[in-house]
């Protein structure tokens, strides 16, 4: 019978999160995606493309927030895949027959995704410092930037969980994440919107990746004019709310 998404039992969600972390720690693919891909991307952007991008500030300072976003999106791919695998295999039946609510299963995946991202963010930031990234802002602004980033990761992770529930093959779940990567590229994450063709600018300016990137960047580089905290938070909460609702719907349908 369809299971509704009940209020999660905290220890269930923690057990599930521990499981997800263990699974990704032991999957070389997931590790590579979560840890090394973002670093490689940053190096590519800073050293290969960076020289050609003239934006007035140092490109490494400009691009790091965008890389962190990309990092969240690629990391969410892992979440989509693992959710999809769980639903396709026999294990979801075992969880259900143990009366583990679907929310706990999914919340576990999202929590693990957040923790994976904390690690990859720390790693990317450390490497960024190594190659010349120099943010200048207050501790409060730094914390706010981290908060916005984690909110974005949570939103994208729930979205990824919804992808994972929507498709039946893990490969399909992963490729769905490329759509999200497109959102990152077609935003001000890597190049200013004004350098894009006119027909793309309206989209780039008004899609979620732009206010989120610019808010994080503004907070880190102390450029208050760029900070659109309200818009960024609203986008994240909106995406999260819609994704959770879709998850509830899909989980009910998948367990019918």
């Amino acid at each position: 019978m369809p299971d509704t998404l009940r209020r999660p039992h905290m220890s269930d969600a923690m057990t599930m999160a521990g499981r997800s972390l263990r699974l990704s720690a032991r999957s070389p693919e997931a590790l590579l995606t979560a840890l090394f891909l973002p670093i490689m991307l940053m190096v590519v952007f800073v050293y290969l493309f960076g020289g050609a991008v003239d934006i007035g500030t140092r490109y490494v300072d400009y691009v790091v927030p965008g890389v962190l976003l990309l990092c969240a999106v690629t990391g969410a791919g892992t979440t989509a895949v693992t959710v999809c695998q769980d639903m396709a295999g026999g294990i979801i039946d075992r969880f259900r027959s143990l009366d583990v609510p679907g929310t706990s299963v999914l919340a576990g995946h999202v929590t693990a995704s957040l923790l994976r991202n904390v690690i990859s963010t720390a790693l990317v930031t450390a490497v960024a410092f190594g190659i010349g990234f120099r943010p200048h802002s207050s501790v409060a602004a730094f914390a706010a930037a981290l908060g916005v980033l984690l909110l974005f990761v949570a939103a994208v992770s729930w979205l990824a969980a919804a992808f994972g529930l929507a498709v039946s093959a893990p490969e399909a779940a992963n490729s769905a994440m490329f759509v999200l990567m497109f959102f990152c590229y077609a935003s001000s994450a890597f190049v200013p919107v004004r350098t894009m063709p006119w027909w793309l600018r309206g989209f780039a300016r008004n899609q979620p990746a732009t206010p989120v990137t610019e808010t994080i960047r503004g907070l880190l580089l102390h450029q208050p004019a760029d900070v659109r905290l309200g818009t960024a938070v609203a986008w994240c909460l909106g995406i999260m709310a819609v994704s959770v609702a879709i998850c509830a719907l899909l989980y009910r349908r998948r367990t019918a």
């Binding site: 019978m1 369809p2 521990g18 499981r19 263990r22 075992r94 027959s97 367990t255």
Partner: protein
């Protein structure tokens, strides 16, 4: 509750996309017994198990498991049952011990209790050594045992096993049967589905035969054997030409075909008159049959007679049986 029945279902009906999978199934399984639901592929066995294990909602009918309604009180039911499906519900990259501990935590055991329970089950299933290794390195038989162990973490009183021995080699199958027999002896109720008559015969106190969503028979193995045909006459031919001729002659009446042994089996009451008549009828020229034997019916015969799947199923059934004797 004082309920003597661990499982009680009446009129279970289920369709998927307009195709009727279950057409009114009634089941009564006494507490502490082993019950086998026997049937060919696509008979509706898995659907029945999933309804009883609260994972699928029936379109019609009622079911109570471990004293609770599977729809209204499904959380109470879930607390008392476990399901081991056809696909192992295990994480390959976790060790056996980690898998069991995880299930323990999800069964609301404390961290310490979960560890103890995991160690206990690993010991019971002779997996203590393997418990430290990742499940991905396990053989099919070990994996199935661990899966079964994982389903027992929360001390269920009713255990559902959906085709537990499918895909196992003969020694692993024997070992699994021993494990299931031990479980039954410990007082839990076991509800298993199987395509193997031998398995039902070996393990179950009672057997129900399911075919195309209908129960076609129910009883003990002995009762079922008696119900269909008391005896079987096996006719052994001198060569393949004769075998082909005899099997073609009996056609749908044959309940046993063994091309390798050149043997055709047909139902008989075992009387001299009938055996003589059958011999004359099939071999009027007295050159097609070299040897004959009258034996007690096997569950295969019962199955085939009840479900009407004759030759190809008979053949498949016997090959399987031969493969794991």
């Amino acid at each position: 509750m004082g309920d003597e029945l661990a499982i009680e279902a009446s009129g279970l009906v289920k369709s998927y996309r307009g195709v009727r999978v279950l057409a009114g199934v009634d089941l009564r399984v006494p507490r502490g017994s082993v019950f086998a639901l026997l049937g060919p592929n696509g008979a509706g066995k898995t659907t029945t198990v999933r309804i009883l294990a609260t994972l699928v909602l029936a379109d019609g009918g009622q079911a109570r498991v471990a004293g609770h309604d599977v729809v209204r009180d499904r959380r109470e039911v879930r607390r008392r049952i476990s399901l081991t499906g056809q696909f192992a519900a295990l994480d390959d990259v976790q060790t056996g011990e980690e898998n069991l501990r995880m299930m323990g935590r999800l069964s609301r055991l404390s961290r310490v209790a979960a560890r103890q329970r995991a160690a206990e089950l690993l010991g019971q299933f002779e997996l203590t050594e393997a418990g430290r290794r990742r499940v991905g390195t396990y053989s099919a038989g070990m994996r199935r045992r661990l899966d079964l162990a994982a389903s027992l973490v929360g001390h269920p009183s009713v255990i559902f096993l959906d085709e537990p021995s499918t895909g196992l080699d003969p020694p692993s199958r024997q070992r699994l049967w021993q494990v299931i027999a031990d479980l039954a002896a410990s007082g839990v109720t076991v509800f298993l589905t199987t395509q193997y008559l031998e398995e039902a015969d070996r393990l179950a106190d009672r057997i129900a035969v399911l075919d195309a969503g209908h129960l076609v028979a129910e009883g003990t193995a002995t009762e079922l054997k008696q119900r269909v045909t008391a005896r079987r006459l096996d006719l052994t031919c001198p060569d393949t030409v004769a075998f082909t001729e005899v099997s073609r002659y009996f056609d749908q009446r044959a309940v046993h075909l063994d091309p390798a042994g050149l043997t055709v089996g047909v139902p008989t009451d075992g009387s001299a008159a009938q055996v003589r008549a059958l011999l004359d009828e099939a071999d009027p020229g007295r050159c097609l049959i070299a040897d004959f034997a009258v034996r007690g019916a096997t569950l295969d015969d019962v199955f085939l007679t009840l479900t009407g799947h004759t030759q190809e199923a008979a053949h498949a059934g016997h090959t399987q049986e031969a493969a794991h004797v």
